[in-house]
């Protein structure tokens, strides 16, 4: 049966996700994941979360899914060594070089290729398998035929995001945010930080969600208020198909949302998946729609508020 993976932006969120039915929770190591520090965890918190997961018979995955600077590699190895010594075995990575280095160092680690790898075809999946990943995250717009092919031919687990955003460009292949505002500082431990770049562990300012005009060569207005689509989605209708496809992990993204909202999302998907598995032939989506609509409305309200703040932040000089 497909595993339900949820976000853990804090210890409180980790507990809420597990308590509401997540089989696994992912957290970001401070400075090393695609969110800002307030949604990441230091090693002490990660070890506490790992113990909580283990005591419940569940799994904790730790994301080191930035694309760092070469000079950060020794820090990456030292930090993952420490977590490994504390019992952590499950990691989420993007850089294929870091994957290979970690796998060579600790062959019993379980590595998942992050959504930042932008895996869009079966050959991509095979590449990351050869780099050491045992599971890959499908790019957010991947069709079911490709998912089926990866399941049949690649010999890796497949993870599908059911709650996430489809960026205007492909996630992991966009630097629009850092084009507008970007920084670089090195902290006291020698770790580099790149605010403005989600690929490098800073936050995305979501400038695609600003108000855009399209202008022609001579400066003539071609269209005003054009949308660069960056939409949060909440898949539910696809869950039965994903289960039929043999998808290994169904993932709920959202470390930046409030703990109660994440708890409700996890509970919704847990019950939906269980109902579908219990009676696949008789399963109907209709009874779930009203509850889903309430969650989506609350999610959108939280997202709108955050987006406005991020765009405003990107304008600071």
């Amino acid at each position: 049966m497909a595993e339900l993976l949820a976000s853990g932006g804090s210890m409180e969120m980790v507990r809420a996700a597990f308590d509401n039915g997540a089989d696994a929770v992912y957290v970001g190591a401070t400075g090393w994941s695609r969110r800002r520090a307030q949604y990441e965890m230091d090693d002490t918190a990660i070890v506490e979360a790992e113990r909580y997961a283990r005591s419940a018979g569940r799994i904790l995955r730790v994301a080191f899914n930035t694309l760092p600077a070469s000079t950060e590699v020794p820090l990456f190895l030292a930090r993952t060594d420490a977590l490994y010594a504390a019992g952590v075995r499950d990691f989420i990575l993007t850089d294929p070089g870091l994957m290979m280095a970690l796998k060579n160092r600790h062959p019993d680690t379980i590595l998942h290729a992050s959504v930042g790898c932008t895996i869009i075809n079966v050959q991509d999946a095979l590449f990351y398998k050869e780099a050491g990943a045992s599971q890959v995250v499908a790019e957010c717009r991947m069709g079911k035929a490709t998912m089926r092919r990866i399941k049949a031919e690649a010999g890796v687990g497949l993870e599908v995001l059911v709650h996430a955003t489809t960026c205007y460009t492909l996630l992991g292949r966009c630097t629009m945010s850092s084009y507008t505002k970007y920084g670089h500082r090195v902290d006291e431990s020698g770790k580099d930080h790149f605010p403005g770049s989600p690929n490098r562990g800073g936050l995305c300012y979501r400038i695609c969600l600003s108000d855009w005009d399209q202008v022609g060569a001579a400066g003539e207005l071609e269209a005003s208020g054009v949308e660069l689509p960056n939409r949060a989605y909440f898949l539910a209708d696809d869950i039965p198909d994903l289960i039929d496809l043999g998808v290994d992990t169904i993932k709920i993204q959202g470390r930046e949302y409030s703990v109660p909202l994440v708890g409700r999302m996890v509970r919704f998907y847990r019950e939906l998946i269980d109902a579908c598995v219990r009676d696949r032939a008789g399963f109907r989506m209709d009874p779930w729609r009203e509850r889903m609509a309430r969650i989506v409305a609350d999610r959108d309200a939280e997202r709108r508020e955050k987006t406005a703040g991020l765009i405003s932040e990107s304008l600071d000089r």
């Binding site: 694309l67 760092p68 600077a69 070469s70 000079t71 590699v73 850089d95 294929p96 070089g97 870091l98 290979m100 280095a101 932008t118 869009i120 075809n121 079966v122 050959q123 991509d124 999946a125 095979l126 590449f127 990351y128 050869e130 780099a131 717009r141 069709g143 035929a145 490709t146 092919r149 205007y168 460009t169 492909l170 992991g172 292949r173 966009c174 630097t175 629009m176 850092s178 084009y179 507008t180 505002k181 970007y182 920084g183 670089h184 790149f194 403005g196 690929n199 490098r200 400038i207 600003s210 108000d211 855009w212 005009d213 399209q214 202008v215 022609g216 060569a217 071609e222 660069l228 304008l315």
Partner: protein, 285 residues
Amino acid sequence: MCLGSPYCRRVEGNYAEALDLLPGVVSRLHAAGKRAYVATPAVPREADLPHVARLVDAAAAAGADALEIHNMGVLRIVREKGGFVPAHMGAYANVYTHLAAGVMRDAGAVRVRPNAEVSLEEMAILAREAGVEVEVLVHGKIPLGVTDRCFLLTEPEESDPKCPSACGEVHWLTSRQWVLKTVGKGVLSGRDMCLLEHLPRLVADGFRVFRVEGLYETAAYRSEIGAVYREALVRAFAGGSFALEDRWADAARRHAPRGLCNGYSFGTAGRMYVGTVLQDANPEV
């Protein structure tokens, strides 16, 4: 010269689609003493992979000097076919670390173009540690994003009458203080990357491969900017004092209606210009 477009298979004049034309154009470039590289699709969905396989074979048969690769699956296809054509990793291959470059080197890459966000300082480390050539974008629009859905069309690309002409026109996206250029399936910087005044530093740092990006630009842009950099590089490699010629600066400004920047080269936001000579195009710097 890099043939073809990584952004869209339907773009007009895409040699990476017109496989029967490849031998002729590669031969002409070789006869002129040039090297011929062929771009592969940056976002090849599963349905595109059979074409990619044919493109790799055609490029090899035509004698192309390298394939420009952005997608790891395409790199794997090239390797599985025996690696008869060297691989150059493109801007969307997300090369940030020497370890990633090493993995790609082991899969057949002989050259990498680091992601746009990677600074010159990081590139020098990467080149030293990974043992691959590093290509530096010295001039032109910076690639900022890629997708497989055309922003300029309202209908599916097969039926929209605006395809493929729409991306042959110039379209800017403007908001607040920002300007971007859209080419349908790609987002480029509004400003033109320009490292003209920094060429002596690049030469001193050991870089030997410099790219002037001409995708979606006019023939005049390619020839005039290309000529400026050829002359400037000769001077930079000669050593001694290096001063920008007024005509170089004029050409750079004339072809950059939205101004100049030098990307992330010095660790700043991509749209900023760091320097002392051409910054007048950016009043806020």
